[in-house]
Symmetry: C2
Subunit: 253 residues, 2 copies
């Protein structure tokens, strides 16, 4: 067990013309061990969608950090959104967890878009009907548990990705592309995320018609310093602030 | 402004013999735009230290996700720890924020260990006296604000890093090493993190005498697809669970 490593890669672009994506992805370390990735797509676009997806993601990571089980988190977050936005606001919610304590991968989905699992045995699509949170009472997530085994990849995304190329009547053909991915070669998830994102951007001629986010988890044999964890983030600096300068706080330099 | 990119790299190892580090690092996207990195070192080692650092980090990210100002977060988290652990538990807390709305880098420090800022003009050490949170009433953080400008690097870490090599009477010599870093060349923060961590592990002969975590932020000219954000994570899979298998939830496959 100590000889496996988890790798997660995420790429995310806003709709063309927007500075910021309405999708929010947050990662937390699970208090019992492991990591969870929360991916939220707020309805609409621009600031309103971003605020909605922040609100949902914040609630989800707070509950997860308190040790709540993923399925309970999705239900509680739905109830919260449904209650306080009175059934008027929808969001999709995916939670991808690598649970070290239960030694399982747990995927929680309130999203019509499917997710895919690749193993050396082939590709499986998880597309059981699933609704976004926020619109009706008592919405439940689709839950899926997978063993943590080498050469298992999980591919999760927001629906914008599936719409790449729509304007030109083209299609990403993601299932076919993933079915051909050589899982047994143990390539880094980053490679897969880059190639999916590049194809999507190409289909949209570098002007995405929707916010697009892709998350890929890969379980691979460890080949690093024992115990070493890494995190790498990059993001363009954008101006989100109000026009007037904020008040200066007391600063000790 | 739109032509700058932020890069953050983190590396983290547990003390030799421990599966898990007592340090916790969490990243969140700020609701007003930008990112915050919360680094907590809980006193002691093993599970107790890890639980303490989770508790503190959870509180901090929840408040930050609600839009609270970094300095207020540090004070509130201190008050929380001081109140509920009755002054018996200490932790160090660093918050590194890239605030897109205020267009500033904000560093909040409740940690005797300093942090460093590298620019083409040279290195500055920020080492004003600062106490861990949790032990006395009314502990305030040291705050520092920096402009978001190209070729600015911020290097932040837990004190374990400074103790690398102690056993053999050696020293990482971090200030000298950083002073020689060619900030104007715009190298990726990942390179800096890797080299710091490698040197620290070498000094401890690959058996770290304490949990070590390093965070490096770099502001660099953008050279990527506009709007694209990336996240890459890797961690060894470890067994943190109880001996008895957990109850099986209802699973829809």
């Amino acid at each position: 067990m100590a000889d496996l490593e988890m790798y997660v890669a995420v790429a995310k672009v806003p709709r063309s013309g927007e500075l910021e994506s309405g999708d929010t992805i947050e990662m937390i370390e699970r208090p019992g061990g492991g990591f969870s990735f929360v991916l939220v797509d707020g309805q609409g676009s621009g600031r309103a969608a971003k605020t909605l997806s922040h609100l949902v993601a914040t609630r989800a990571i707070t509950l997860l950090k308190d040790g709540a089980y993923d399925g309970a988190v999705a239900r509680a977050v739905h109830d919260y959104l449904y209650t306080y936005r009175m059934g008027q606001a929808a969001a999709t919610l995916n939670i991808l967890s690598v649970d070290f304590a239960a030694h399982k991968i747990i995927v929680t989905r309130n999203n019509p878009a499917p997710f895919f699992v690749l193993t050396p045995q082939g590709m499986r699509s998880f597309s059981a009907p699933s609704e976004p949170i926020g619109l009706q009472p008592l919405i439940k997530p689709q839950m899926c548990e997978l063993p943590i085994t080498a050469y298992t990849y999980v591919v999760m995304f927001t629906d914008g990705l599936l719409r790449a190329g729509e304007r030109r009547g083209e299609d990403l053909g993601l299932p076919n592309y993933l079915a051909a991915w050589p899982a047994h070669e143990g390539r880094n998830p980053q490679t897969l995320v880059e190639s999916i994102m590049q194809r999507a951007l190409m289909l949209d001629e570098d002007e995405p018609s929707d916010d697009m986010s892709v998350v890929v988890l890969g379980i691979l044999p460890a080949d690093d310093v024992p115990g070493l964890r890494r995190l790498i983030v990059s993001a363009p600096i954008i101006a989100t602030g109000p026009a007037e300068p904020p008040e200066e706080p007391d600063v000790v330099k």
